[in-house]
């Protein structure tokens, strides 16, 4: 059993997906693997959680019909690494804010491996994500994480 020591010392993983079944299963998978996980079913609640919590990784659904998931990224400055998922199969696009793309459904071991890689790269170098609440001021990131 590849139980990881998860993110005790780091931020949580935020799973944003409007499909409740998939969101719940990904959250369960990550929790089972030892991560702290928060869930949001839309951009609004995601922004709220981003403002309240320390988020190390965003697992974000591209969403339909026009990639509204990506709009979330427009509303935050200095976003955490983003694992983008899509129910539209393999899509090709270029967005520097997206670290990895995975098509749904993807094999759970692959998902876990990608998450682990992203978390480790985050904690080793990059500063933390900060939310930009609608109409609110910047909240400077106080604690850059290290592993």
């Amino acid at each position: 059993m590849a139980q990881r020591s998860g993110t005790e010392a780091s931020g949580a993983v935020l799973v944003v997906d409007n499909d409740e079944g998939f969101r719940r299963s990904v959250a369960s998978l990550l929790r089972h693997d030892g991560y702290r996980v928060s869930e949001a079913e839309d951009n609004e609640s995601a922004l709220q959680i981003l403002g309240e919590q320390d988020i190390a990784l965003l697992v974000l659904d591209l969403g339909l019909p026009s990639g509204e998931g990506l709009q979330l990224l427009d509303q935050i400055t200095d976003p955490p690494p983003v694992l983008l998922t899509s129910g539209s199969g393999v899509v090709q696009f270029e967005d520097p804010r997206v670290s990895v793309f995975l098509a749904k459904p993807c094999p759970p071991p692959q998902l876990l491996e990608v998450v682990a890689n992203l978390i480790s790269s985050t904690t080793s170098s990059t500063p933390r994500a900060r939310k930009k609440p609608p109409g609110a001021q910047e909240e400077p990131g106080p604690d850059p994480e290290t592993r």
């Binding site: 079944g21 998939f22 199969g89 459904p105």
Partner: protein
């Protein structure tokens, strides 16, 4: 398809009917013209007969006058000569007054070469003189080698005195009548009503029989019964009337040909139009069938994409949950539990593949072209889709193609996976790519069993599959993605079994430097 006949039935009917009418018209007009000619001829001939009768009347009167005055003057030669002048006007004519009261005829007075006072009468002439009567009589006589026409009469006052006139005739020679009132007809005159050739007195035509039509009538005067026969020298009704049947026939035949041509043209046009309509109808039906089929496929594809998309989330969730379940169970997953869990994982994975295929099929996007090394492309595909046991893959290429890496990877993955599935007994799988004119030809030749001719048309249709576990989308996706590259794909059986997929991807379509 049966080619058109040479001529239509209607053309033949029109030609025959109108030609028949023309010939009928010709016959009718010819008959009419002949009737007219005959009537004109008969009219002319009756006038000739009247003329002849009048001439004979004249001769009788003059012969009687000669006899009367001469005998009354006691057979005065002067009176005779004076009276005869009106009668014997031509050479070869002779006139005599003959006393027939005795046992033998005796010439009282005469003029001309054939009736001489000092010579005995030829017996034939003597016979005529002895039988002379008041009614004018005629006889055709042969004296020596000459033919004579003798006319004889007596006066009521001196019944014993016969007045006889003879004329030398030459019936074998035609007397041309080129001028005069009856120059337009030929006339033969015979000394008997039967008109035998030997009885010919006079002809303007010659010894040969008259050309038909011939009008005949008997000239009656005194005891004379002659036959006058007439024929036309030129058509009496005129050349135009004579030509009119032929003109009618010619015009009729021309009309027949013209009508036949018209009918034939119309018939051919109609046949042509009918053929065009049939062709267009066939084309339209074909086009309509294609349209309906394409629309059906598009609708199916759209539905497939929606279903595929909608299945992704639940399938992903199920995969994640199964993974957690497997992890949580750990060593407890044994026996039946492990068996059922594995089967569930297998089925969910299968469903996941299907949903992947369904979405791929309808994904529309323009390919992003880059240079792709075929060997590298195939190598990546073989890494992610390794050949099953028994399948020996060979790659023969150094070709570079222009394609979208992601899409071409999927194309090759699908084609190769399809080949694997056909090679249940293993065998060689040959992959090759070579440059052609402005294109790269990729061939994938498997060592499987090939496909039946009945399914050849449908192999690239979505959801068409010959396998129980196939989604029927693999080759349909290949076709779609290749067409997005403006390429073509075809599949054929190869000799010795197996199938070959040929994919042509054009080069030089991109505007990269």
């Amino acid at each position: 398809m049966k080619y058109k006949r040479r001529f239509s039935t209607w053309t033949a009917v029109v030609l025959v009917v109108v030609s028949g009418l023309s010939v009928g018209g010709w016959a009718l007009v010819t008959h009419g013209v002949d009737d007219q000619n005959r009537a004109l001829l008969e009219n002319d001939e009756s006038q000739v007969v009247l003329l002849l009768q009048s001439a004979l009347q004249n001769v009788q009167t003059q012969l009687r006058t000669v006899a009367y005055f001469t005998v009354s003057a006691h057979n005065s030669p002067q009176v005779f000569t004076q009276q005869v002048q009106a009668l014997a006007t031509q050479a070869g004519q002779s006139v005599a007054l003959i006393d027939k009261s005795g046992p033998a005829p005796r010439v009282l007075l005469s003029t001309g070469g054939d009736l001489r006072q000092d010579q005995p009468l030829p017996s034939a002439v003597a016979d005529v003189a002895m039988h002379a009567a008041p009614a004018l009589a005629s006889s055709l006589l042969h004296v020596g080698n000459r033919a004579l026409l003798a006319l004889s009469t007596t006066t009521p006052v001196y019944p014993d005195i016969a007045a006889v006139e003879t004329s030398v005739i030459n019936p074998g020679r035609a007397m041309p009548n080129r001028r005069g009132p009856y120059s337009h007809i030929y006339i033969n005159l015979y000394a008997t009503p039967s008109g035998r050739p030997n009885d010919l007195i006079l002809t303007t035509f010659g010894p040969a029989p008259l050309p038909p039509p011939v009008a005949k009538s008997v000239v009656k005067f005194g005891s004379i019964r002659w036959l006058a026969a007439a024929a036309q020298r030129t058509p009496l009704s005129g050349t135009y009337a004579q030509a009119s049947p032929w003109i009618a026939l010619g015009v009729g035949l021309l009309i027949a040909v013209a009508l036949a041509l018209l009918v034939e043209t119309l018939a051919q046009r109609e046949r042509h139009a009918a053929r065009l309509v049939a062709e267009r109808t066939t084309e339209l039906l074909k086009a309509q069938q294609t349209l309906v089929r394409n629309e059906r496929l598009a609708a199916v594809g759209e539905l497939a994409a929606i279903v595929g998309h909608e299945l992704r989330n639940p399938l992903g969730a199920a995969l994640n949950d199964l993974f957690i379940l497997r992890q949580s169970l750990g060593d407890q997953a044994r026996g039946e539990v492990d068996e059922f869990l594995s089967e569930t994982e297998r089925q969910v994975n299968r469903a996941a593949r299907l949903s992947e295929d369904l979405t791929s099929y309808m994904r529309e996007r323009e390919p992003v072209l880059t240079d792709l090394d075929f060997e590298e492309l195939v190598s990546e595909v073989l890494d992610s889709t390794p050949p099953p046991p028994g399948v020996a893959v060979s790659v023969d290429s150094s070709a570079e193609l222009e394609g979208d890496p992601l899409l071409m990877t999927q194309v090759m993955t699908n084609v190769i996976a399809n080949a694997y599935q056909a090679m249940t007994q293993g065998g060689p799988l040959r992959l090759a790519a070579q440059h052609e004119d402005h294109a790269v030809l990729i061939t994938v030749e498997d060592g499987g069993g090939g496909f039946g001719a009945d399914v050849a048309d449908r192999l690239f249709d979505p959801f068409f599959t010959t396998r129980d576990d196939g989604t029927g989308l693999g080759l349909a996706i290949v076709k779609r993605l290749v067409e997005l590259h403006h390429g073509t794909v075809a599949i054929e059986n190869v000799d010795g079994g197996g199938a070959r997929v040929s994919i042509r991807i054009p080069r030089g379509s991109s505007d990269r430097g």
